[in-house]
Amino acid sequence: MVIRRNRRLEWIARNRLHPEHSAVLMGVNGGDEIGPSGLVRKRPHDIGFIGPNGIKRIDRLGNSLATMAGAGAHKGQAEVSLPLYVVENASQYVAVVLDAPEGRLSEHDKDLLGLAQQLKAAADNAASTAVAAIIFSSAAPEAARIESYQLAGVDRLIVLPAESDDYQPEQRAAQICALTAQYDFIHLCFPDTVLGGADTGRRVAANLAERPATSVWKLDGTQLICRGAAGKTDITRPLSKVIIALEQCADQIDESKHECLALSADAITLSASRIEDLGKAQVNPNDIDLTEANFILSGGNGIEDWDRFHEAARLLGATEGASRVAVDDGFMPRERQVGATGKWVTARVYIAVGISGAIQHMQGIGQCDKVIAINTDDSCDMVKRADLSIIADSDAILTALIETLSNQSSAEFHPQEAVA
């Protein structure tokens, strides 16, 4: 077969300004050009498209439309479905006793589930081993919670009845021991949280006559690495039945989804507790160390009337803090200073009254959860950081707060009065 060249079409194909240029390129052999020697030639210039600012873009992701529209890209990410990990006919279990305050998994709980999955993989019969999470709750968890457990690596879920959130360590340990007798867990993992897993775990270990591995921070093959000597040494020891692990002991599960099937627990009759929780005692908020206070009212240069500030702190039941200026000027003692040269606080709520937010101060409140700023300047750094900003004179706001609180205190509000 002789290939006949059409000189005119070749000329149009070379001439990008020709009105028929693109039609010719597409029309000849479905877009492919046949060169003078008869070979099919690729056209590298056809790749890509002209972007919104007139510049040619090459999109190698293959999702040009998704990246062009920003919202579309997020939608694409959310729809990623994780592979479901199924354990059929589980014959043995790695138990994880979760703290799960109000059914919500803490970061520590998720780390622990990661460790349990590692322990499961290291077990003898890994294919028929399941990770069983144990939570204490008065009601069955709702669907949204179940989904969060599935994503955190819970193969099986055991809900043990809890009458209240009171401190009942003996009852909880007895319930877990009964459960261990029922299912014969190969490992029991607890989070090393003060008066949480650390307490319950040791009680269970003492009851089962097992030696617990405490302060575990890594699983290395079949060896556990624990902190010893109050954090000064590392102890490498073989796996034990009861494992009480520190935070970040393993990577969290984030690339698979698990079944989270319910397992039943035999009902047991609990003997009366020898320990009784009489409830929280009132604490003078200013006796709490600033670094561990939960709620801080902090004052700075914007405060004129310090008596009013102290009164507001007393009524709110907040621990008092101060910026460096207030301390330097002698209004507050040095140990109350928040910031790079003072204390690094971890409060859940931090109210900054008349503090504009120098970078040293912002470092000090880096770990605070919610920040409320009271300031006259609505462009200061503290207002940018704050979750709620009041742009007004601090003394007026403190007066209003004191008034509202003292009105409420007569009716239903019970402030934490200072106790000696």
Binding site: Y167, P169, V194, L195, D199, R202, R203, A205, A206, R211, P212, T214, W217, R227, G228, A229, A230, K232, T233, D234, T236, P238, D254, E255, R274, I275, D277, L278, K280, A281, V283, I288, E292, A293, N294, F295, G317, A318, R348, V349, D369, K370, I372, I374, V383, K384, R385, D387, L388, S389, I390, I391, A392, A396, I397, A400, L401, E403, T404, L405
Partner: protein, 269 residues
């Protein structure tokens, strides 16, 4: 309840030899010294201090003298070597104490050397079949007639909780308790160290298989970017976290209510 009836009890404090975190010198264990301080401040009729450890070591003896200097007349010492199980020795001593068994047994929450598992008080409570209260900071009251005691337990974030427990009980004293008094030289010289010789010690065999080394620095968990493509990685590396900069209120009369609403949502009021 009169003062006398509440004081007419026996408290024993378990003491251990601590270690300074930087200089690694033997010292009074911080929590054990606090436990001793709790006992001394409560001032019951019978106060005892008990230590299981190596009496041949001169440095350990210096630390025991430091404890004696706090004002306790004597310390009973059960001689154990470093590789034997102190929990077994203490449990057999306390179980065989008969009338000498205390109403309250105080310890620190965990030792400053060795395994430092904090398991010993749990084990003792289990072996003596009495309740255990962790992390207390004070003994509030004791009702001998009803056989109950009230203690103050310290929680994280400086909070306190009252606990009622049956007598006798074991309690561990945490760092929130009162700072221990200084050791005085004269009291330390007058104090007596009694060696208890009739206790058989058990070797801690599990521990021989362990490997102990100085603590390694724990790797810090990095923010893991799970990007499938270069463009996503680039975005994750360069994108600034958008701070929305919360709600702004300009009116004074609305401000107080908005603040109180947020405080109630966060459950700090």
């Amino acid at each position: 309840m009169t003062a006398n009836s509440s004081k007419d009890i026996a408290i024993t404090t378990l003491l251990s030899v601590g270690q300074h975190p930087l200089s690694a010198r033997p010292r009074r264990a911080e929590e054990d010294a606090r436990a001793l301080e709790v006992m001394l401040q409560f001032a019951p009729a019978s106060m005892k201090a008990l230590h299981a450890g190596d009496t041949a070591d001169a440095q350990n003896l210096t630390v025991l003298k430091d404890y004696l200097g706090m004002g306790i007349p004597s310390i009973d010492v059960i001689p154990t070597s470093a590789d034997s199980d102190a929990a077994e020795a203490l449990a057999s001593y306390l179980a065989n104490a008969g009338d000498g068994q205390p109403h309250i047994l105080l310890t620190g929450t965990r030792s400053e050397v060795g395994e430092s598992s904090g398991f010993l008080p749990y084990l003792l409570a289990e072996k003596l079949a009495i309740p255990f209260v962790p992390n207390i900071c004070d003994i509030l009251s004791i009702d001998m007639a009803a056989g109950v005691a009230e203690v103050m337990q310290s929680l994280p974030r400086g909070q306190r909780r009252k606990i009622k427990t049956q007598l006798p009980f074991v309690a561990s004293v945490g760092m929130a308790a009162a700072i221990p008094r200084q050791s005085s030289f004269g009291a330390a010289r007058r104090g007596v160290i009694n060696t208890v010789s009739s206790i058989d010690t058990v070797a801690d065999e599990a521990q021989t298989a362990w490997k102990t080394e100085p603590a390694r620095k724990r790797p810090k968990r990095l923010k893991v970017v799970k990007a499938k493509t270069a463009a996503e990685r680039f975005k994750a590396a360069t994108a600034k976290v958008q701070s929305s900069g919360g709600e702004k209120i300009y009116e004074v009369d609305k401000a107080a209510e908005a603040i109180l609403k947020l405080l109630k949502e966060e459950k700090v009021l």
